[in-house]
């Protein structure tokens, strides 16, 4: 049994203590994903007793001699009855260094929809392969989606290493295949770890059965990923959620160090999606393009001299400028130009098809715009062979789980970034105007994935891709 430590509490103040990492899992059926997730939860002591009791009882009923950790991730009744996983489930575990939010994405049913959903917020993807099978078609598809969604880190868990006698050669061969695949798809950073989720090798505890492997365990890898500067290091983007204009300052006995405010207070509330901001910074108000200087960054805990990506704050500007919900405050250095014609990669998540001429809503940041589909440019063929990259084939419609290129005409100009550079402000969702359903996930600008140019694509787009290929 692996050693366990008590669940440590984060801290008793807001600014000290551990950080947060979001991860998503992906793998094919029978790769042992549920067992790996169960093992992470169990070995980090994140399972409540009632859940564990249930797992032990069910395992006994099924005649197993020990608890089947895969049962820890059992969810809906329908799933238990059918022995399948239907939907993305969110799990939580923590170590003294970090809290983890895990989006557990089922492998077989609607894999694109689930993996895209889980990957959209992930800092890292944990991708599984069976050591006996190595990199398979599903691995290539999942990695392509990870690359498309610009997930900063991908860790390949080579699971069931016990079933290949802890063979270094098998591991090295798979790791080499995977590195080549990752490079061809333009994936930012990858890592491979030999694991047996059932036996617990290299998940939380270092295994003595893989003496040839001197890298971190899965948990230690996740604890040490440095994702600090990814969003913070980018240009400042702040979608305005609402304008704070109190008639009179409300008494706030609950507030820590709230400054006194007067009756003509006017601030812009929102969450910083990327970059950082200080009082004195000059910002552009998009889409209009007017400029103003930050007078103060307010919070009920007192004013800040610096705020960074991820923080919800209220920004006051020094000039009487017209700012309302849906606008974006952005760094004046290369702000996104408002556009009326949007080319984007779209992950189609609905049963109903998308065809040219369709009228939809586009939600981007805090704004919603009407849009019409000008054309479907192509659909991504993800059934590519090892050593090649996905290619575009022509299509007239997008159906469930398709990843396509489309052109949209927008009813009002949208200051949208390229998703390659800005994951938050380059993303949008497509909504059905009639019933409000979320139809698709959109990535603005050139496809953030290396593809073969067999079908028709935008020449300018291709040129941009060529330029950007280098460093990734």
């Amino acid at each position: 049994m692996p050693q366990r430590s008590a669940v440590l509490s984060a801290t008793t103040n807001l600014t000290g203590g551990r950080t947060l990492l979001r991860l998503a899992t992906a793998g094919s059926v029978d790769d042992g994903k549920s067992t790996l997730v169960g093992r992470l939860l169990f070995d980090t002591n994140s399972v409540l007793a009632d859940t564990l009791d249930h797992v032990e009882q069910v395992s006994r009923r099924r005649g197993l001699d020990r608890a089947d950790l895969a049962l820890l991730t059992d969810g809906l009744r329908a799933e238990r009855e059918q022995g399948i996983t239907i939907d993305v489930a969110y799990r939580y575990f923590a170590t003294p260094a970090r809290k983890f939010i895990l989006a557990d994405c089922p492998g077989h049913v609607q894999y694109t929809r689930n993996t895209v959903t889980g990957s959209s917020t992930a800092d890292v993807i944990v991708l599984l392969v069976d050591a006996r099978k190595g990199v398979v078609e599903q691995t290539r598809r999942h990695l392509a989606v990870a690359s498309l969604l610009r997930v900063p880190h991908v860790v390949l868990v080579v699971n069931k290493i016990d079933l290949v006698n802890y063979s270094e050669d098998v591991f090295t061969a798979i790791a080499t295949d995977f590195a080549l695949l990752a490079r061809s798809l333009g994936v930012l950073e990858t890592y491979c770890i030999p694991v047996s989720a059932t036996e617990g090798d290299n998940v939380v505890t270092r295994s003595h059965r893989t003496p040839w492997y001197d890298g971190p365990t899965v948990l230690s890898y996740l604890e040490n990923i440095d994702d600090t500067w990814l969003a913070v290091g980018q240009e400042f983007r702040f979608p305005v959620q609402h304008v704070v204009r109190p008639q009179s300052a409300a008494p706030a006995p609950w507030a820590a160090r709230a400054p006194q405010v007067n009756g003509d207070y006017r601030g812009y509330a929102g969450k910083i999606e990327s970059g950082r901001v200080r009082p004195g910074d000059e910002l552009a108000v998009l889409p209009r393009g007017t400029h103003a200087v930050v007078e103060a960054i307010d919070t009920p805990d007192g004013p800040l001299d610096l705020a960074v990506a991820g923080q919800s704050v209220v920004i006051r500007l020094n000039a009487e400028v017209d700012v309302s919900r849906g606008d974006i405050l952005a760094a004046t250095d290369a702000p996104p130009a408002p556009i009326r014609e949007l080319t984007a990669t779209v992950c189609w998540l609905a049963e109903r098809e998308l065809t040219a001429g369709a009228r939809v809503l586009v939600q981007h940041g805090t704004s919603i715009t009407r849009a019409a589909v000008r054309s479907i440019e192509g659909v991504l063929d993800l059934s590519f062979e090892a050593g090649t990259v996905p290619c575009w084939r022509s299509a007239t419609a997008l159906t469930l789980n398709d990843i396509g290129r489309i052109r949209l005409a927008l009813a009002s100009p949208l200051p949208i970034d390229s998703y390659r550079e800005h994951r938050a402000t380059g993303a949008f969702i497509i909504i059905d105007d009639a019933d409000g359903w979320t139809l698709g996930a959109g990535l603005a600008g050139s496809t953030p994935l290396t593809t073969a140019s067999t079908a028709k694509t935008d020449p300018q787009d291709e040129a941009q891709q060529q330029q950007r290929k280098g460093p990734s």
Partner: protein, 303 residues
């Protein structure tokens, strides 16, 4: 520019900012939101976050309590103080009114939890509320792990887990048809321990029954049940005076206490962290205790 002040957000900062973002999105995009407020720890954390989200303006919506008529008096008193403190108008939907005029009938087992649904849905309809905030967390229960932050409900308030909208990035989609409403869970990504850590960090008041106190209790059906007018002693009961606290506060008829000497926030945090260790033992007694704990969680709140 100095970079020494730059450091990643902590877990609590990140969770707080995410919740504030969610609460602001709802206020900006719905016509008539309302926040469920039971006086329990999750709902008071949610109310605290709402106050922070709109400061220096007041909270732009009211709070709703579905009162079963079996609430702990300490919690009701706390509820009234808290809504005053945070400046949110309170609306009460009383199960007792429904029983008095015959719209609802008392159940044979005396539990009023299932009776809350009708007054809740009526209050949502009468107030024309298109968004209802709840303090539910995804770590509470297995099915809840799959619930969205924005969860669509039909006119019967039903959740259809197999037919949920995908939720991508932090782009929350609240569009809905007339008659439908959206349940919003700003604490989706918080755990029980996060809630307590935040209560400590922000010095948030919670009802006194969350902390250890002496109370007349009896060990019945694997749970420590308080002896009072709602749950009087039965003949077979052995009534003892024990030091207990409540992990969740719900209807008195179905909320059990846990034996505890945790009298401060820090004590509770230590206990919550440790309880997951000791409850692992899976002895028979632990089985019973933990079953009770799960029931508590399920019964907490309205969802």
């Amino acid at each position: 520019m100095t970079t020494d002040q730059l450091r990643p957000l902590t877990e609590l900062q990140a969770l707080e900012s995410e919740s504030i973002h969610i609460i602001r999105e709802v206020a900006a995009t719905f016509t008539s939101p309302i926040m469920l407020f039971s006086g329990g720890k999750d709902s008071v954390v949610m109310l605290h976050l709402a106050a922070k989200a709109f400061w220096p303006a007041p909270i732009p919506f009211g709070v709703l309590h579905v009162d079963t008529g079996h609430n702990f008096p300490e919690v009701l008193q706390f509820r009234d103080e808290a809504v005053d403190f945070y400046g949110a108008p309170l609306k009460v939907a009383a199960v007792q009114d429904y029983i008095d005029d015959g719209r609802l009938r008392e159940r044979p087992d005396g539990t009023r939890n299932p009776l809350q649904t009708l007054p809740l849905l009526d209050a949502i309809t009468d107030g024309r509320h298109d968004a209802v905030f709840g303090g539910g967390r995804r770590d509470e229960e297995r099915a809840r792990a799959k619930e969205r932050v924005f969860s669509m409900r039909d006119e019967f308030g039903q959740w259809e887990p197999r037919n949920q909208r995908p939720e991508l990035w932090s782009l929350y989609n609240g569009r809905h048809l007339p008659g439908e409403h959206v349940r919003v869970f700003p604490l989706s990504n918080w755990t029980e321990l996060d809630v307590w850590d935040y209560i400590a960090a922000e010095k948030i008041n919670v009802p006194t029954i969350y902390y250890a106190h002496e109370r007349k209790v009896t060990f019945r059906d694997g749970m420590w049940i308080a002896i009072n007018e709602v749950t009087p002693a039965r003949t077979a009961d052995v009534v003892e005076l024990r030091s207990v606290r409540y992990r969740t506060v719900g209807d008195m008829s179905c909320t059990a206490a846990v034996l505890s000497v945790a009298s401060t926030v820090q004590d509770v945090i230590n206990e919550v962290g440790l309880s997951q260790l000791t409850e692992r033992g899976a002895t028979r007694a632990d089985d019973r205790l933990s079953e009770a704990a799960m029931e508590d969680r399920k019964r907490e709140g309205y969802f």
